[in-house]
């Protein structure tokens, strides 16, 4: 297969429309962030029991997907699969822009975002958050170097080595993200080593789904479509990754169900918790796992449209999963005095109420908009797009 060539995204009406929509989301995000910061967090649904809300669902989603979005480039550089080579540059660009979007949401939701400099200069290295600051910024720097290796012909021979480093860094970064929750001994819903590999599987699943959607979008803006061989490969991978995530979720719940101490938590998440079991069973399991896997395994669904529907369903499942994990995990009360039921004016012992506000959704969507907008701008500024006609036909 001859080496792919690359071009800039040509200016076109569809391009400017999509860019305008992305910009609108960014503006909404900034307005939401300003509202939250100037009035204070009381205007959001977050409170002293549910301290991380919808913005964090979006942020974790974007950060985890960013790691997985680099997969196409990794498969090309590290595992040598030629089919993925044309997508490498876009894959790396996606990884950077998704991470930037996620970090923006995270920083703008801080109680004191004006103290970002403090966060960059004071470190407590017992905190996984502190390590994550280096893992995230280091990842961006590394992927920039990775892109340089890809763009500069004289550096192409280093693509494999830098790609392998980026691959390893991705795994460490995603472990670090999962560890944010895994290390919390106080919270029954978290406090589990399985969250680290689960997050890696999630990154692969969400990242591949987003790769399919973003790539299809960018190619359709240019006027052609996602090449068949690539699409077939990606959809098969997506199927495997969705199953992998389901495996970890199942193992996690089965293990918890075995201990009597965890029964009330499990009953809350899986049965009696109102919105949480609904999001889990219908959103995460039915729409996010079973339906996509069935579609992705069916031969008659192996065209672009059903594939994109399956990818979108995976993303629906992703949001439901993160909502149940992050918010459900906080809504369930901490058992401060085991063996006793607790009641107080500080909402001890009761399921916490959480009504997400518009501003929180606005901020989250702002992050998505920022990721999309910078992705689009990137394709105009540098030659990320593979030129047409590199499709080598259906893969064996």
């Amino acid at each position: 297969m001859r080496a792919p060539t690359f071009q800039h995204m040509p200016s076109s009406t569809p391009f400017w429309w999509v860019a305008a929509i992305a910009t609108a989301f960014v503006v909404v995000g900034l307005v939401s962030a300003h509202h939250m910061e100037s009035a204070g967090h009381w205007v959001t649904g977050m409170n002293n029991r549910v301290v991380w809300g919808v913005p964090h669902v979006f942020a974790v989603f974007l950060i985890v997907s960013a790691s997985g979005a680099l997969n196409a480039a990794s498969i090309a550089s590290v595992f040598g699969r030629e089919t993925y080579k044309p997508l490498s540059r876009l894959s790396a660009l996606m990884a950077i822009t998704l991470l930037a979007g996620g970090l923006t949401v995270l920083v703008l939701d801080l109680g004191r975002p004006d103290r970002l400099i403090v966060a960059m200069t004071h470190y407590n290295f017992r905190s996984i958050f502190a390590w994550n600051i280096f893992l995230y910024t280091g990842f961006i720097a590394l992927v920039v170097v990775y892109l340089w290796m890809m763009f500069e012909p004289r550096m192409n021979r280093f693509v494999g080595r830098v790609g392998t480093t980026a691959f390893a860094w991705r795994l460490i970064l995603t472990t670090g993200t999962g560890s944010i929750f895994a290390f919390l001994a106080a919270r029954e819903a978290f406090d589990s080593a399985v969250l680290a590999p689960m997050f890696i599987a999630m990154s692969l699943s969400f990242g591949t789904a987003l790769t399919l959607i973003f790539s299809a979008l960018i190619f359709s803006i240019r006027g052609d479509g996602l090449p068949t061989a690539l699409m077939l490969n990606l959809r098969r991978l997506l199927g495997y990754f969705v199953v992998a995530v389901a495996f970890f979720v199942m193992v996690d719940h089965l293990t918890r169900l075995y201990g009597a101490e965890h029964h009330s938590m499990e009953r809350f998440i899986l049965l009696e918790g109102g919105i949480y079991p609904m999001l889990f069973w219908i959103g995460q399991i039915l729409l996010g796992t079973i339906l996509p896997v069935v579609m992705l395994l069916q031969r008659r669904c192996n065209t672009l449209a059903p594939t994109l529907v399956a990818a979108s369903l995976v993303l629906v499942g992703a949001f439901c999963q993160l909502y149940v994990l992050i918010i459900g995990g906080q809504a369930f009360p901490i058992d401060i005095v085991p063996g006793f039921s607790e009641t107080s004016g500080f909402f001890d012992g009761v399921i916490a109420e959480y009504q997400p506000s518009l501003a929180e959704f606005g901020l989250g969507m702002g992050g998505v908009g920022l990721a999309l907008l910078t992705y689009l701008i990137g394709t105009r500024v540098l030659a990320f797009l593979p030129t047409t006609g590199f499709d080598s036909g259906p893969s064996s």
Partner: protein, 255 residues
């Protein structure tokens, strides 16, 4: 980048000069920007070490739950007025440093009421997870938030097994001089550190005694002759969530 060594008599084009100048200037500026950061990291680490003169003391609290009545909230009112925790009529987001929790034994139905506050653990999870080191443990055992470097990420609130921390969700005015607090910062019971530093006892302890209940005893856990040690010898004391092995500074008796 092909880096051929430059020969002395080779004339360097002006564009090259410009590039070199900007690269060097950028490098210089970046180094200058990094240097204070490095210094600040040193400072943060140096200050967090146990360099307090009084690290042979460990301040603690003993709660006698038998003397703690269900309807009574003297300790809570005292704390609120001492620190200016006026509330905004929004219980979900209003700060609470100490609260009364009504407990009911799930098997026997036996009821009691205890105050829950920051437990001032020896191995605090909140200190472990704080990315900037704002959540820290003073050498004399008091767990505090350095509100100057707290960025309001609320990770410590996720990590605390006792829900002891509160986040300030709105602009504040009229703060007490000895208890600075503001929007976007996380806070919790300071064991009235400003009083302890002046050799007084926490406001909650004083209020409980003045109300005639004497349920709260404050003292030095390391002092073998002190009230905490002598009471602990006479009656069984326990900490909350002993399974977490946090070795808390706040202990409870009579349950």
């Amino acid at each position: 980048m092909s880096c051929k060594p430059m020969k002395k008599d080779e004339s360097v084009p002006l564009a090259q000069h410009r590039r070199t100048f900007f690269t060097q200037a950028a490098a210089g500026v970046s180094l200058m920007a990094l240097a204070p950061g490095v210094r600040l990291v040193e400072l943060a680490m140096a200050n967090s070490e146990d360099s307090l003169p009084s690290n042979d003391k460990r301040w603690g609290l003993l709660v006698d739950t038998a003397k703690c009545e269900s309807g009574c909230d003297e300790c809570v009112s005292a704390c609120n007025s001492e620190h200016g925790l006026s509330g905004h009529g929004r219980p979900e987001t209003d700060a609470q440093w100490i609260r009364k929790v009504d407990l009911k034994d799930e098997q026997t139905g036996h009821e009691l009421s205890i105050p829950i506050l920051c437990q001032h653990c020896e191995d605090p999870p909140c200190v472990d997870v704080c990315p900037t080191g704002a959540s820290f443990r003073r050498a004399d055992g008091i767990v505090l938030v350095d509100k100057h470097i707290c960025i309001g990420c609320r990770y410590c609130m996720m990590a605390c097994p006792f829900q002891a921390r509160s986040f300030i969700h709105e602009d504040l005015t009229g703060q007490k001089t000895h208890s600075p607090r503001g929007k976007g910062i996380v806070e919790s019971c300071t064991l009235c550190v400003h009083r302890i530093d002046e050799d007084q006892e926490p406001a909650c302890v004083e209020a409980c005694r003045e109300a005639g209940h004497d349920a709260l005893v404050f003292g030095d856990l390391e002092d073998a002759a002190g009230p905490l040690a002598s009471l602990s010898r006479k009656t069984a004391t326990r900490e909350l969530r002993p399974d977490l092995k946090l070795n808390t500074g706040v202990r409870y008796t009579s349950f």
